[in-house]
């Protein structure tokens, strides 16, 4: 078909009406906004590309819908990732493909049946077209409005010191202005909470997360916690770009995530963890520790233990005592591309594992290692108590 520009836009918006309604229903059923966000992205990408297709493709043979659809799929998925739309990959692909197939069926069969001159009108829908377009836009605007209105409220924390503990017991986005400090810790007990741009000082745990999912902690600094810098229990968290200083803390961990194996994987990424017994402690979890910098720990740099499944990748562990990275107690660990250096022998311990190892697999743990750079340690790696290490 040789589409006119108006024909492309009308056909696209009319074909989007049904997916839009389905997305609204899905959003209600799943209690998640990603279907509406996804269909909004699909429309945005499509409407942005329609003028391009109009110029580049004067006549569009039937087969050309497939490559054009693939380009749009790539753009939609890329934007979804960029904008952090929380759509499961399989679900998003299925939704896109379903909507695309529906659009093909409408364009090839339903629209020509409903409007006899559809083809020769270049995809324009006549008097019905503007109505369908308006309906699609109204539904999208309404759904988007509801989605927007029901987003967690944004709570701004002004510059200066705020006395804690702050208890976040309902969904919200806590955003600190430059210079915002909480003294006495933050406690999260609700789902769908994010904390950004805040410095936390003191408290037993600088930030404590309990029984919560969809928790995002970004660009936070934690200083002077008495136990753990960030303590996570039975929760699913994403922790990025953080800084936790535990210098002088004899028993605490920088980040401790425990007992989350029944939940979606948690992520610790690009954090600087200094001091304490352990930098990152992952106990009975599904988790990924990626691109972090752990230093000056007194027991182990990164620990994965108690039937945990974890990927430990791209981290820098240095200047610690005993063990750089430990995989223990029936855990399964994928340890790759880490840089481990300067792990010293623990002179206060007679435990042979603490003679200064880069990587240790312990007590029935299965550890896969690949492309790690271990230097300045007495031992590169070792397996103890019926544990395995497999090098790739």
């Amino acid at each position: 078909m040789a589409y006119t520009l108006r024909g492309r836009l009308e056909s696209r918006l009319a074909a989007a009406l049904a997916p839009l309604l389905v997305a609204c229903v899905l959003a209600l059923v799943l209690q998640a906004w990603w279907p509406v966000q996804l269909v909004g992205l699909m429309l945005a990408v499509g409407l942005a590309l329609d003028p391009v297709w109009y110029r580049l493709v004067p006549y569009q043979p039937g087969w050309a819908a497939a490559p054009l659809g693939l380009v749009e799929l790539g753009a939609v998925m890329g934007l979804a990732r960029l904008l952090e739309v929380k759509a499961p990959l399989a679900g998003a692909l299925a939704f896109f493909v379903g909507a695309w197939l529906l659009a093909q069926a409408l364009g090839h069969a339903v629209f020509p049946l409903a409007r006899l001159s559809y083809g020769e009108d270049g995809g324009e829908l006549g008097r019905v077209g503007p109505g369908l377009v308006a309906t699609a836009l109204v539904v999208l605007a309404a759904a988007g409005g509801v989605a927007w209105a029901t987003q967690p409220p944004v709570v701004h924390l002004s510059a200066g010191v705020h006395q804690g503990p702050l208890v976040l017991d309902h969904s919200q986005q806590l955003v600190g202005e430059p210079g915002a400090v909480v003294r006495g810790g933050i406690v999260v007990t609700a789902d769908d909470v994010s904390i950004r741009n805040v410095t936390v000082i003191g408290a037993d745990h600088g930030i404590q997360v309990e029984n919560a999912e969809d928790v995002v902690i970004e660009r936070v600094s934690v200083l002077g916690a008495h136990l753990d810098g960030i303590n996570v229990r039975m929760s699913e968290v994403t922790i990025r770009d953080c800084s936790v200083s535990m210098l002088g803390n004899e028993f605490g961990q920088g980040i401790d995530i425990s007992f989350t194996a029944h939940l979606e994987p948690s992520l610790v990424e690009n954090c600087l963890l200094t001091g304490g017994q352990e930098g990152i402690f992952l106990d009975s979890v599904h988790a990924m520790a990626i691109d972090n910098h752990v230093r000056q720990t007194t027991l182990r740099g990164i620990t994965v233990t108690e039937m945990a499944m974890a990927t430990v990748e791209g981290n820098r562990v240095e200047d610690g005592v005993g063990i750089g990275i430990l995989c223990s107690d029936y855990s399964m660990c994928d340890i790759r591309e880490n840089s481990i250096s300067g792990i010293r022998r623990d002179h206060e311990s007679s435990d042979s594992m603490r003679e200064g190892y880069g990587i240790v697999s312990h007590y029935f743990a299965h550890t896969d290692v690949k492309d790690n750079d271990v230097s300045g340690t007495r031992h590169e790696m070792g397996a103890f108590a019926d544990a395995y290490i497999t090098s790739h």
Binding site: A2, Y3, Y59, G62, H108, P112, L113, L116, E120
Partner: protein, 367 residues
């Protein structure tokens, strides 16, 4: 006799209009079709048989049904229980066979009640009167669609009475050596027919044919290309239509390989002039222009209709503007409607006029 609509011309363009009106809700009794043969494909059948045409140049939507879906590819795929025709259609490679097309015409003829609307009559005059158009003594109709078809076969000068000459669209066999005049679809088909019959072929043509899948660029079958065409001033549009009339046939090995093989074997030559062969096949198409059609010429003369070159000037919706208003419609369909739709002599063109005619009728009925 009188009714809502009259279709003057019982060929494929009239047939498309009838089917479209029926889809629009008119009963067969409300539509009077005037033609000379109750079979809407009668004339076309003779011509396609004469050139031994096996496949249509048109694609899946080259049919007479009012809606483009389901096209002939879908129907064939269902009948053959094979996705092949659909895949070919996606690639613009599906061309229905002539038999498939004619079967479709027969089915549609029965389904639309064509025979109930058909009246055997040769209409020589249509004139505007109060409340509509008087159709040559057969009554007054508020809405009339004229689809008189091609006004006759075109012969090269001096050959019409030459005993060696036969027109491609007339039944014929081939002599041992045959000169084929023309360079369009019919000529190319006749090259292959004559070669297939064992003849040596001399292609007589003054210019090389263009190679297009369809007889016009695809954008000219839709508003995208038509919008610009409709904006061209009359003088310029005449030039455009004359250029569109240049002979062409599709590209592809099925056309080229037999000709190349014959050329290598010395059985295919190209010449700019006739050279005394025992048989001359004139694949020169049809006479052009309204002046060759007594009905249209009379209409123009009687109502002083605006013309440009060989064409009656039409509005973009294929109506005669000066004789069409809220109360009546005069539409041209088929080849005389090229002023509105350059590919008017195709099935797509017939439906273009039919759909707009049906829209006018529907608006009149709901007024």
């Amino acid at each position: 006799m009188s009714g809502t609509c009259a279709i003057v011309g019982g060929g494929l363009a009239g047939f498309c209009a009838h089917a479209t009106l029926r889809k629009g809700g008119l009963e067969p009794a409300e539509i009077a079709v005037f033609g000379t043969d109750p079979d809407p494909a009668a004339v076309w059948r003779v011509r396609s048989t004469a050139i031994r045409q096996r496949r249509m140049r048109s694609e899946s939507d080259g049919h007479c049904a009012p809606s483009s879906f389901p096209g002939l590819a879908v129907r064939t795929a269902i009948r053959r229980r094979s996705p092949g025709p659909l895949v070919q259609s996606l690639l613009d490679r599906y061309h229905p066979t002539v038999d498939e097309f004619l079967d479709h015409v027969d089915e549609l003829r029965a389904a639309t009640g064509w025979d109930e609307s058909f009246h055997a009559a040769h209409i020589e005059r249509v004139r505007a009167v109060d409340g509509g158009f008087e159709v040559d003594g057969h009554g007054v109709y508020p809405h009339v669609l004229l689809a008189p078809g091609h006004p006759g076969l075109a012969w090269p000068e001096g050959l019409e009475d030459d005993p060696r000459a036969v027109h491609a669209y007339e039944p014929h066999e081939f002599e041992d050596t045959v000169e084929i005049v023309g360079a369009g679809m019919a000529a190319a088909t006749e090259w292959l027919n004559a070669l297939d019959a064992g003849a040596s072929v001399i292609s007589v043509r003054r210019r090389e044919p263009e190679r297009h899948p369809l007889n016009l660029p695809r954008v000219l079958f839709s508003r995208r290309g038509l919008a610009g065409f409709h904006k061209t001033p009359p003088d310029e549009r005449v030039g455009v239509l004359e250029r569109f009339g240049a002979p062409s046939y599709p590209a592809g090995s099925s056309w080229d390989e037999p000709v190349e093989a014959a050329r290598r074997a010395g059985r295919f030559h190209v010449s700019a002039e006739l050279n005394g062969a025992p048989q001359v096949v004139c694949a020169t198409g049809f006479k052009r222009g309204f002046r060759h059609d007594p009905l249209l010429a009379g209409l123009v003369a009687e109502h002083s209709l605006e013309t440009a070159g060989e064409w009656i000037v039409l509005t973009p919706d294929s109506t005669v503007g000066s004789l069409t208003d809220e109360t009546r419609t005069l539409t041209l369909a088929g080849v005389p409607a090229q002023w509105a739709f350059p590919a008017a002599d195709t099935l797509m063109g017939a439906k273009y006029a039919a759909r707009r005619f049906a829209r006018k009728v529907a608006a009149w009925r709901t007024r």
